[in-house]
Amino acid sequence: MTAEAAIPARRGMAWRAEDFARRFRLWITAGPGLAWIVLFLIIPSAILLAIGFFSIGDYGNPRLPLTLEPLREVAGYSILGWSPGNITTILRSLLQAVSATVLTILLAYPVVFFIISRPPALRPLLLLFVILPSWTNQVVRTYAWMELLGPRSGLSHLAQALGFIPAHLGLLPGVFAMQVGLTYNYLPYMVVPLYAAAEKLDWTLVEAGRDLYASGQKLFWHTVFPQTMSGLLSGIILVAIPAFGDYVVPTLLGGGRSMMIGSLIASQFTETPNWPYGAALTIFMLVFTCAGLAVFRVLSRRFGGTGAMM
């Protein structure tokens, strides 16, 4: 009774000097960051999303009236009727992203377990070697791969000799080159969260597993893997989402026959301008990504405990 009465009383005095000071400090510290996010992320995104509901002007610019035409176009309907082109592009991007994510997982586990099996003093250095390349520009790194996979490179000569590709051709452009590029670029984003999870692995649980008759693969899947789940989920998010919309790798290594959603969106704002359509594609990507994140949120609650980054 008295406690209930006390709460409204305190609320009434909310604007006392010390409360004011506390709020003031809060805004001073959080304010600039908040303003940055609103100005440079929220407002531009809102504008972009809004453009997706405009009609197409003569130069591809958005104009009134508002319409759902661009979104229909994403679904494949155009003046020439329905075509699966866009859907194919989206599915192809998704497949590339999933495949690159799986490859980074397969590569990251051995790398991470190699690093944590080294003496603790050496581990940060080894991890640095994994991260170091990502400090250079992605375009530069991808260009380097163009060299490495080009017709005159050692790898191409080897592939030619083994009969995988005709003489005088390189390993690019194509799906193979793109997978190499994506996996290479995003590997550090899988290794780092996985390392964070694996480094604080509770090895007594592994011992408990051995004590309870598990060995080999069973031991890994039942005692090690569940403990790395939180890192794995974070890694998947960090790799799959950017890989899905990647623009540089498909452009430089993928070639013309494998258009990706990133390139498709980019071209709507450059070569063949169609801003509302580009914006509509962006809306689709955003919704798609959010849906993916929602699924992950459920998964990480179920398996990762406090893991993941949401």
């Binding site: 509770d202 007594t204 011992e207 408990a208 051995r210 004590d211 309870l212 598990a214 039942h222």
Partner: protein, 378 residues
């Protein structure tokens, strides 16, 4: 459900007994250590040439201060560590080439090591599942052990949702459900508060007597060791100082370290020893004819008889003493009593509260029965 019924069922639904019983029949659950040594990188011998036999069905305790090698020894029996020298036999079988998952040994870890991503029931059933036991039987056996340990109501919970004592029970159930020949317990009660600890000590003991498995228990807590064990091995710096039944080790410690580590003791250097009299700083003491020679005399505090009034001249070892310190502990009182300049610790049961509590400065009579003076070599 009644314990005995559950137990009977557990045994009936246990086809594994026959399968693991390939060693000599009467050796099931016996552990033999021959010259076991383990040297850690850096040259420190954690375990240094240990020979030991643990009998089937015994509650055996490895007792010692931290760093004495008791946990390392336990880990070698479990198979987590390999000895650098020596042989380990469990149930009469050589264990050198046998990895942990093939040993009929289960461990209760100090940190419990419950799998956080599995429920209580899944944790308990883990070992059975890994051994490929069908889910119907697995369920029956986990239900049985959960009923026995009264944790059935937590079956669907995650370990994080349990209290320390409940986790302890789950960890124990997870080991016992496999019906191992040997259960290893690495300070399993050390994280619990005193009352719960005392409860679980008794429960653990009952469980061990019921199931008849060999329990090897590691602790640094001498009281726990005394309460629970059939036999104790006192360890220090990688070596066994003394092995024997609890009462033997307590009453007849082999050396000063054991005497001081296990319970309270008064150690008096022996100046000379002739016939049945030893010369000490507090005066001559009559000893038993059966006493062997030794450099120190040990007297347990509870074996010192205190009384009001002058010492009885007819008694064997009677002295006049002065109370220097008195600590009331409820069931008993602990005194520091000074005799001829030597301070002894004496424990007096508070049989009746009236005249049995002396204050510092009070004169008392002190009697020590010759049979209660133990001579120890060093």
């Amino acid at each position: 459900m009644h314990d005995a019924v559950i137990l009977k069922r557990m045994q009936e639904t246990s086809p594994r007994r026959a399968e693991t019983d390939s060693g000599p029949r009467n050796e099931r659950g016996a552990i033999e250590l021959h010259g076991i040594s383990r040297v850690f990188p850096g040259g420190l011998a954690a375990v240094d040439g240990i020979d030991l036999r643990i009998e089937p069905g015994e509650f055996f305790t490895l007792l010692g201060p931290s760093g004495c090698g008791k946990t390392t020894l336990l880990r070698m029996i479990a198979g987590f560590e390999m000895p650098d020298a020596g042989r380990i036999l469990i149930s009469g079988r050589e264990m050198q080439a046998v990895p942990p998952h093939r040993r009929a040994v289960n461990t209760v870890f100090q940190s419990y090591a419950l799998f956080p991503h599995l429920t209580v029931a899944e944790n308990i059933g883990f070992g059975l599942k890994m051994r490929g036991i069908k889910s119907a039987e697995r369920r029956q056996r986990t239900d049985g052990i959960m009923a026995l340990l009264q944790i059935g109501q937590f079956a669907g919970r995650n370990p994080a949702q349990l209290s320390g004592g409940q986790r302890q029970r789950v960890a124990l159930a997870r080991a016992l459900v496999n019906e191992p020949e040997v259960v290893l317990l690495d300070e399993p009660l050390s994280a619990l508060d005193a009352k719960l600890r005392a409860e679980l000590q008794i429960e653990l003991l009952r469980m061990q007597k019921r199931l008849g498995m060999t329990f090897v228990f590691v602790t640094h807590d001498q009281h726990e060791a005394l309460v629970m064990s059939d036999r104790i091995a006192v360890m220090e710096r990688g070596r066994l100082r003394q092995v024997g039944p609890v009462a033997d080790v307590y009453e007849r410690p082999g050396d000063v370290f054991v005497a001081e580590f296990l319970g309270l003791s008064n150690i008096l250097p022996v100046a000379s020893h002739r016939a049945q009299v030893i010369e000490t700083a507090m005066g001559p003491l009559r000893i038993d004819a059966s006493a062997t020679a030794g450099h120190s005399a040990m007297i347990r505090p509870e074996k010192i008889k205190l009384g009001s009034g002058p010492p009885d001249p007819a008694a064997a070892n009677a002295f006049a003493g002065i109370i220097r310190e008195a600590i009331y502990m409820g069931a008993s009182s602990q005194y520091r009593v000074e005799i001829n300049g030597v301070a002894l610790t004496a424990l007096d049961t508070n049989l009746s509260a009236r005249d049995r509590s002396w204050r510092p400065g009070e004169a008392v009579s002190v009697e020590i029965d010759p049979g209660n003076i133990v001579l120890i070599p060093a």
